[in-house]
Amino acid sequence: MSTDVTIAAVAAARRPAVPRWVTLVVIWALLIAAPYWLPLLGGYTALAGRVLVFGLAAMGLNLLLGFTGVLSFGHAAYFGLGAYGAGLTLRYLVHSTPLAMLAGTLLGGLAGTLFGLLIVRRRGVYFAMCTIAFGQLWYYLAYSWNDFTGGFDGLRDFHREPIGFGPLTLDISEGGTRFYFFLLAIFAVAVTLLGLLVRSPFGHTLRAIRENERRARFLAIPVERQIWLSFSISCFFTALAGTLYALLNNFADPLALHYSLSGYFVVMCVMGGMRTFWGPLLGATVFVMLQDYISSMTVNWMSFVGTIFVLVVLFFPRGLLGLRRQRGET
């Protein structure tokens, strides 16, 4: 009993506890200041970059997972294709960071678009299963094509190039804060687009499909087409994140395509709250930081990470932001 109409009605009736602009200001202030407060908590700038990249990938995935209600467990494929696309471009074609990002995003996004056509009629676990298997196809391809992709050892011998705007040149070849702000700028643009998309009529039809596919169909929403579009767009965003990952590491490796990374993306969404826009970013922050700390402390980090998954599923299925919202609603 909850189409987007009712949601909108409820939302209108109840003013959120914190005005939305306050939330936005806080989020962006925290992100902009990250290089300064993160070291105080024992982090480092490269970690902040990682949070942004994974956060963007998870937010891209969440368009499909949280807003359309379709489960992809293979988004690492598009992330990794983005990374390889960017890396291969820098290595073999042109020494240009923007072109590399464009190429990577197109590669990952188009692969998703084409594959989406094949599986858009599947639902639930079967959809998930096909996405996993398709993702592994790319994993094995990258892993066995030694001459071109560097195989198991990964693609190397490329690095981010300074971006030239005529006389103004942005030199991001050094890591550190400047590169972080570059990442943040891309992140901001991407997230704004994503936000507009979610609020657009298209975004509303996606939520209608999520809440009740049959009813959406009766309302003459072309369900398959919308899911396909949602899947493709989500792949484009994740691929963009992938290109940033390649730039962050100056490296692309097959594990960026592996299904365990897809699992990480999904858990980021769920942990942060997959029904919320910012949830995946929060989830990515918590997950990346936790994994970083735990894996330094113990060799048995896999147990801890696995336990986090289990605990989230059993006890916090709505995620951190969902928790807050749920409390606010009741």
């Binding site: 489960l71 094949l118 599986i119 676990v125 298997a133 398709f134 196809l137 094995y140 391809l141 147990s303």
Partner: protein, 288 residues
Amino acid sequence: MQLVLFNVTNGLIIGAFYVLMALGLSLILNLSNVINFAHGNFLALGGYLAYTLTPTLGYWGALLVAPLLTALIGLAVERLMIRRVYNRDPVYSLLLTFGFAFVMQDIARYVWGPNGLPLGLPDFLSQPISAELFFVTWYRVFMVFVVIVVVLGLFAFLRYTRVGVRIRAGTLDLETVASLGVNISFLRTFNFALGCFLAGLSGVLAAGQIGLNPNMGDDLLMPSFIAIIVGGVGSLIGTLFGGLLIGMAAALTTVFYPSASEAVIYAIMMLVLLFRPRGFMGEEGMMS
């Protein structure tokens, strides 16, 4: 030509092994709609338990007891965790088993160590059956024999016993089965344990062939997925067929272009998704 013939035999042997693993996965998927990511880890668990039990029970004892223990552990896992997510969005069951797979792999490493361990076999099993067919050891024959017995047993069980019939009925329409007064909670638990039993058994068999290591399940999980997709979701016969097909494809590719032997099974999957999306023996509509 002889080489190809050799490899067809060989592919059947590998395929038989995939079948055993995929059947367990398929059982759970069909009835409970859960992809058990930890299936590979139950497999490793079965192998490791056999390793621990062999000194006291001997190989044959371990071969029997280790899968039963695995099934018991599977039963506990289902009761404690997995049953809680049956009625939720599938994302939760996936994450749950995915996370649990991590924990199980880590426990295996913690208990049995990161080093590879060999599982001792009775001597006569590791001999080749003849000089001509040197690559067919008695162990491989034995493996295929076990797989055939177990598969026949499984199908007979599903066909002729009350529980088996209910599982099959539940696969087609769980709601109706539930409304007929069948205890589906028990049915699912039993079915999960049965799947884990098959995984455990595959583990003991695999351990004799490739040894034990904490990651051993990972590499075997994906071929099982593909066997299911290719064979058609919802059809155990399809899974059987899918497993044999990809085993054979992998073996034949090794003859002509060895480094593609892993990629070829994915290529097969893509072809199936393109031209026959429901898989070879899948029911129309099962996948949506």
